[in-house]
Amino acid sequence: MGAMLEIRRLSKAFGSFVAVDGVSFDVSKGEVLGFLGPNGAGKSTTMKMVTGFLEPSGGQVYVCGKDIAADPVSCKSALGYLPEGAPAYPDMTPAEFLAFVAEIRGFGKSEAKRRIEEVVRKVHLEDVLAKPIDTLSKGFKRRVGLAQAILHDPQVLIMDEPTDGLDPNQKHEVRELIRAMATEKAIVLSTHILEEVEAVCTRAIIINRGRLVFDGTPAELEQRAPANVQKNRLDHVFRSLTSSDTQAAPPKPEVVNA
């Protein structure tokens, strides 16, 4: 099984500001890739390019072997995407919204009904199905977004901060859901919660100022911390990789702050 998502030297410039600078990585089936980086590092911009929303300034994205620039519609069919903030039409109810997405995704009436029932059960939307999305809590809105992203059982699932704004119980549920789906999909999720990476990800990449600064397993990431650091070892590595202006600068010793 080859990589289901291939990112090749992807870059994006807004005027003179380079938001993403030559990022490359692959994601295979069964992998859950944690996409990390400080705010403004280019995580969301990268995801927007990977899902075909933004056009890259340079580089290629291949979804299941197909170039998204050449064949956007079939690539988008194979993708599930939860954008940042889980946008959904506020005047629709989750039932109407999911029916709309199912229709666009090309499912017939009975197939759409079956799939909607299935995702509603998976993300626990039963109680709010007939309420306008406008009136739902943040947690429910996020789940509506998630339901929309997994409705068509996509081969590649991309989620921009799927647990942001959720309470600990909801976070746990979403992580369980991701783990349950992980074996048959290639999953990319962005987060700035490091514990989440340890909890669900099989691999982590860190991006800083638009450049890839780490690509490896969460365990490898942790090993980068000096032996004298006991607590929050991932935080330490994350800071040392992303807070310095130059990559070569040595990480500040943790003792100073302790």
């Binding site: 988008k76 069919s77 039409y89």
Partner: protein, 247 residues
């Protein structure tokens, strides 16, 4: 085609999701009535005792000037504001399906409002013997002109996330397209501008092109004007979205 229909249905339902749509339609019908009977003097000397709807259709460009920007403002500005544009553009549809689906929904909505003016038609039929063919042609012409206004509105709406800005800018641009054919503004231009320029400006006017249509004369040149105007602004609409998606 199927995708376009899905977008169309969602958009049309969006119009009726809030009471605003009904308020729109009522205001449109009241204004249409006031313009026709009060200012247009359907019964009065200007109607010259004829049973026709010329006084009614004659006001449509001005009616649309206020009505259409309010209908079109939400088309894309709302998608930008709520962030759903990102969702829409990452669904497996093409840009033209999205642009056309939304435009046609707005056009259909306007068509409903226009159809509900039928009591005016009933009135003149009751009072006399109007030329029904001319009235049908007038309705078709009016609907086509509404499409022209709407295409401008959709295009402007795609530029901003603020519906009020979309409303005002659309109003100003549509006003230009109306005034460019108004006798007063043409007289003003004739004083100093070369004749070619005056003719060019007046040839862009909705008034000039709608005049024949409102009398029930469907001239291919006028149809070509409105349809190419729609094509131009909808193409620009897609281009703007392509270039400027994120903010």
């Amino acid at each position: 085609m199927k995708h376009m229909l899905s977008i169309f249905k969602r958009e049309l339902r969006g119009y009726f999701a809030t009471p605003v749509a009904y308020v729109f339609i009522v205001v449109f019908l009241v204004l249409a009535g006031v313009f026709t009977f009060q200012f247009g003097q359907l019964y009065g000397p200007e109607g010259q005792g004829q049973a026709s709807l010329r006084a009614f259709f004659g006001w449509h460009p001005w009616l649309y000037l206020f009505f259409i920007p309010a209908v079109s403002m939400r088309l894309w500005a709302e998608e930008r504001k709520t962030g759903t544009i990102e969702l829409l553009m990452t669904l497996p549809i093409t840009m033209s399906q999205a642009v056309l689906g939304k435009f046609l929904a707005a056009w259909f909505f306007t068509g409903i409002a226009l159809l509900l003016t039928f009591p005016v038609w009933v009135t003149v039929t009751y009072l006399g013997e109007p030329d029904h063919g001319a009235i049908i042609a007038g309705y078709i012409g009016s609907l086509i002109m509404a499409g022209g206004f709407l295409a401008i509105g959709a295009c402007i709406s795609s530029l901003t996330k603020n519906q009020v800005i979309a409303l005002v800018v659309t109003f100003v641009i549509c006003l230009f397209f109306l005034l460019s054919g108004h006798p007063d503004s043409l007289d003003f231009l004739r004083g100093w501008a070369p004749g070619v320029l005056v003719d060019t400006i007046s040839s862009f006017s909705f008034l000039t092109h709608f005049e024949a249509l409102s009398k029930g004369v469907i001239d291919v040149r006028n149809l070509i004007f409105f349809f190419s105007l729609m094509a131009f602004f909808l193409f620009a609409n897609g281009l703007i979205l392509d270039q400027k998606k994120a903010d």
